[in-house]
Symmetry: C2
Subunit: 235 residues, 2 copies
DNA sequence: AAGTGGTCTAGACCACAAG
DNA sequence: TTGTGGTCTAGACCACTTC
């Protein structure tokens, strides 16, 4: 389990973030990268494609591959989903578990999660801060059939990392629906805002590689501190 | 100018939307699709990849390619930006041009658009409705060096289509930053809401294939009618 | 004319699912 | 064991930019 284009993409990303290519703002040609990493040009192109989607580089036909270093600070890249903990490495991400219990899926939940009525589901409510500043209130539902065990200690960290590294499950797809609404009393209090203030909301569904839904969550973001980023090539 | 994987992707998309594959929810194997369209398997995979990104299908290794038909109604797919006119085909999209003038780029604008200070820029303010319901107030800036001419008639239609089809320019990348804020008086009035109500905001930058910015815009969306969708495979 | 990214092929082998 | 998608290769030719 070591995929060349992913490895190379990660290596190039590190090099870019370290500023190795900053002079001239231009990466080596695809051919040179292929030779340097000992792979075919197609494999290099798959690696570069990921970085294009992440917004680190931009390819111009006939001209070359250029750095973008335009990524706004502090915005959450929708393409880059490892959870907050990884997205804000360098800053202190804390998660306060406000509630954690095992419930049964009612009709609405079983529909949202594609599970049977009455299936056991972990419900986790968390308050997450970045460098101490309120960032998001999360309401998450995890299917116990896929995540057999969860406690406060795990929930206080990165649940995504737990799933990948501890449970060894592979995440396949992640869907997000982004909307705005007025804050309710409770969420407003948690975020240090007023009821009726705007909220930036992300409603998420996580799929394992085999297509099963392991996670359904609603994230109520602080509207003054969260921005989402979507950088895309045109198709 | 006819790219096989794009053509095939469009054809498959039409077939999916027509419901041709609904029985069994499964597409033919990649090999069969390759044979049917007379192309290599890699080309079919590129075509399918686009549909995965658009959220129409989901690939499961070892199992097959399945329909999703889970796309929420009325949400704007962030992967699928041909502008409102194309995204809401079937419904009536109207654009009322509230203002259109040629201005000079000030410092802030020249920075946002990557153009020189004093460059001529079209400013367009539009109110867009879907089936008569207020949907978004758009503030758009177009670099005249790339879009030499613009009038009310053009602005009342799809500016993106105008650029592609009339000017023959190729769009390369599109960046969007999504946030929430409180509505100001003017925008609230236009959207039929109250000042201080939430707004769902998309701030956009459009790049031509050669990397130049042709468009910078801020879209103030009605928070009760707009949702954005981001369906992604995990990398 | 030369350099560089974009499209496409034909085929090999691997990883996972289903019978 | 067989079917199916995932990764990878080596090479060809095209489209666009740069010189």
């Amino acid at each position: 389990m070591s995929i060349k284009y992913k490895d190379i993409s990660n290596r190039l990303e590190e090099e870019i973030l370290q500023g190795i290519y900053d002079k001239g703002d231009k990466l080596p040609t695809e051919e040179k990268l292929a030779a340097r990493h000992g792979v075919s040009r197609n494999t290099i192109r798959k690696a570069l494609e990921i970085l294009v989607r992440k917004g680190l580089i931009i390819s111009i036909q006939g001209s070359g591959v250029f750095l973008r270093h335009a990524t706004p600070q502090g915005a959450l890249n929708l393409e880059d989903f490892n959870g907050l903990t990884e997205s804000f490495s360098g800053q202190e991400v804390t998660s306060e578990v406000l509630e954690l219990k095992l419930i049964r899926a009612d009709e609405k939940l079983s529909l949202a999660m594609g599970c049977r009525l009455g299936a056991p589901i972990y419900f986790v409510k968390r308050m997450r801060r970045i460098d101490g500043v309120p960032y998001v209130v999360e309401y998450a539902y995890h299917n116990q059939e896929h995540i057999p065990y969860l406690d406060e200690k795990i929930a206080a960290g990165s649940i995504f990392r737990y799933i990948r590294e501890e449970l060894g499950k592979e995440i396949g797809y992640l869907d997000r629906e982004i909307s705005a609404a007025k804050l309710g009393e409770e969420d407003a209090r948690l975020l240090g805002l007023q009821a009726g203030d705007p909220a930036l909301i992300s409603t998420n569904r996580g799929f394992l590689k085999n297509g099963e839904i392991f996670d359904y969550s609603v994230d109520i973001h602080h509207y003054q501190t969260t921005r989402f980023l979507k950088l895309s090539d045109y198709r």
